[in-house]
Assembly symmetry: D2
Homo-oligomer: 296 residues x 4
């Protein structure tokens, strides 16, 4: 299939490579020339703008952009995607943005005759490189079916979450819970250890009890409890505090739009913000436990 | 083995019955005569006081009491356990109390020549009846080994958490996390549904993603998502809001003693308190989601 | 002076009337024709658009709009204020928006040759009608001096807070504190009364002690403590919960931009959001005490 | 009048001295001999125990002790106050404790034939030395009238708050609000300054607006805004963070007893706890602003 791809950053570049590996023809664009050059070397063709990608003879376009403002600009701008794309081309936005904006852009696309899916991912740069991302997809059944094979070249778990914006809504809900759970684990581990329990023993108990969660049994923030997690290597790599902060910002913004309180969520957001303000925004988000450990 | 048992409430009575079923000889006491009578009918002998249990020729005594004040009174009172028990008898307190008080009582016991274990449980009245409780045990290796077979008659998961008070510390840490996670799931499910996602679809996504936790995949608070959980039967039965409130009170009290902040924990405690103050203290703690659901 | 006025809502209309009363000539616009008609009857001239006001021979323009999106549209739109106004005309935006947006618009205005001030107000519709508003003004000394007499026709307290955006920053900081204090008073009054203290006695003690604050001594939320406050008339009138919610939203948004944590502020925002979600958005914000009163 | 005085610490000693200055005869006790010696030098007589004070021919006894445990021990202990005091002697406890304990001790005193008042103070060691304390008094009208002249020798504001425990309840409510307000001011000042407003200008605006409170206009935590407050001298002196922490602990404990939520209060308590855990417990509580200031 001839596919257009916009946004070749830390996530977009490896995703695009996986499409090439799966045998698809790719026309790409990114404002950073080096990012484009690197994909061209791997076999893609370069367009000179978003509009240029749209004017190429593509059947489907994937976008992977930093925030809602970029998504709106790239889709709705005067000389950009919708202004140039042929009706019928399937548009898939894999950026993580708020559900409201996703629905706004999808409505504009459909008015223009282009089916659209929101398909944010989880799994990080590791999952993007390995092609093991999870896609949370919002849009019609037919469009989901049409996109599935393409998405499967980039991920291994492709979940249909309902209509437009529901992919974003599901991701925002999951990451809200993740942001809370990680701080919950941080408080519980720090308290138990301060009370005298060995951290590995404590994690073992929690992981077989009702406190069990991904943040405890797969990504424990206490140093020395697990190997191969950011806590065992000084919180390098992983999912950055500032990325978690962005996702909790989306959650509280979405909650505001539907007037839904998120009390623990808002407090968690402020704690990551305090931690980031201390200069830790690039550390993995599990480093938030350092707010609680006296010896850290 | 001849075992003394004190405290025959909702948890203590079925635990004592399981000891009888395992072939142990039991001498029991409870201030409620009917509770004693019921155990006597099942084969136990009655003592007329805590001191009476201690004076019986028992090798080991289990206590299951409501709060630290009762534990201190029963162990340290003028005519009670320590004042009457033969040195060498192993004392096991399965009440849920703060680690500090547990250590205080254990120190008094050891001074009197009695080895002691704190061994709080999780698993609720269901686990107590089925003999499938988890015991979190604090005390020496030797005493833990000595107690293991007896505890195994009442539970299936017997975990040694370290020295005196560490059983309580581990339980308090786990339940702190549980109390937070349940509200986290409540916020995430309510937000996702308010944004338009089907609750079963959303739970399915969370349960295979990084938000996964016991409160979501085993005890989901959103009605209709799972069968056989309190949410599917009007939040009857289960683990009462007021019990969770008690455990979070222990957690924040223990945190105060070691000057360890528990920010999400303290907020969670207040939310259960607000919910209880509205008359919901007897509902299962997962009913806290009703604070978030407009249609509930 | 010939003054342009845009935005004739609950606040803008009485402010514009006070300018007429002070002898100024007014050219006005609002998208609601009846709002314009009412001002014309009072002596103003009507323009047919924002651009029309700008093209009239005015020396100064005041805008009073609901949110940042409106301010950006009206100032920066293709056929709107900046596209039509003569360089040198002083622009005063009295809308309450985030400091970042205020600075963005001011920079565009100055580039176009128009000095600009942000001048949000406090004092509510009562203060707007009586001409007793407080103006918190951001911009240069010279522009502040030039605007002072005009603002004095609408308010009695005109405070210069520093450069562009500082009027908005000062307002957002004050209202953040106000939103927190009101909940603080609600918690303290509700707790003291639940513990048995008479509400008037308690308010008297607080108001002469270190808990003293405007929310307690001037606007007490407990019914029956003060006359002539919303709490004494079923929380009708006053400053609506949804307006407080908007201001706390601006505060947490501004805090996010400068990565400054606002922990109590974010929790307060969620509590007003929960209260609004229960259908109370139109009640005065002091009604938040009903979240705490069992008998309410 | 011949008065007994128990507890000669930082607060009790200057209070006792003011009773001597007012011409009263004093019999005192404290477990620290040097504290007793210092008062004897000033004209008091020494007793050798709490019981010794009770057996002296006193008409009234004042106690000033660190916490509820001490108050219960001194009043209810086997050879202490109630066991030795003559019926009819008026007992005044000026310690700051929870209302529940105050009522428990008062009930025991009245059963023994001794009228009792709880009379906690505010005003700090400065107010104790200057005789300008505020007394918040719980007990009967008659007992309040009987005590007033004695209290007036130590304070200038003597407020009757209702029956037993209401002095404590009023203090706990006021200090709950104070603890919240101080953090509210810290967040508002830090945010406004981070957004570019000068701290003195910002404080000036808040102090004449709806954010006005004692923590802002009398005890501003931002360095350089006011003279003669702890913020202007490195947060030395004043009201220690650990004392505020104690009072918020009393508030959340009292709230638990009457099942009254204190959401901002609990969060404030955790923030002071986090700050104390960092080694700042002896700094004035207004130093909490350092949690928010990047340059601090």
């Amino acid at each position: 299939m001839h596919i257009g791809f916009l946004g070749l950053g830390h996530m977009g570049a490896p995703m695009a490579r996986n499409l090439l590996k799966a045998g698809h023809q790719l026309t790409v664009f990114d404002p950073v020339p080096a990012s484009v050059a690197s994909l061209v070397e791997a076999g893609a063709q370069a367009a000179d703008s978003a509009g240029g990608v749209a004017r190429a003879d593509v059947e489907l376009i994937v976008t992977m952009l930093p925030a809602a403002a970029h998504v709106k600009a790239v889709y709705l701008g005067d000389d950009d995607l919708l202004a140039n794309v042929r009706p019928g081309v399937l548009l898939i936005d894999s950026s993580t943005i708020d559900p409201h904006s996703a629905r706004e852009v999808a409505a504009a696309a459909e008015q223009h005759g282009n089916p659209m899916l929101d398909a944010p991912v989880s799994g990080g740069t590791g999952g993007a490189a390995a092609g093991t991302l999870t896609f949370m997809v919002g849009g019609s059944d037919a469009d989901f079916d049409r996109a599935r094979a393409v998405l499967a070249a980039m991920g291994k778990n492709i979940v249909h979450c309902g209509g437009h914006g529901n992919g974003q809504a599901a991701k925002v809900a999951n990451n809200l819970l993740l942001g809370i759970s990680m701080i919950g684990v941080s408080e519980a581990m720090s308290l138990g250890v301060a009370l005298g329990v060995d951290p590995k023993v404590l994690a073992g108990i929690i992981n077989t009890s009702s406190g069990r969660c991904w943040s405890s049994d797969t990504y424990n923030p206490f140093p020395g409890v697990m190997d191969n997690v950011p806590a065992s290597r000084g919180y390098e790599g992983g999912f950055g505090t500032d990325l978690m902060l962005k996702d909790l910002g989306l959650a509280s913004e979405a909650a505001k739009q539907v007037r839904q309180p998120v009390l623990l969520g808002a407090l968690a957001q402020q704690l990551y913000q305090a931690f980031s303000a201390q200069g830790n925004g690039q550390l993995d988000f599990s480093a938030i436990i350092n707010l609680y450990r006296k010896d850290a």
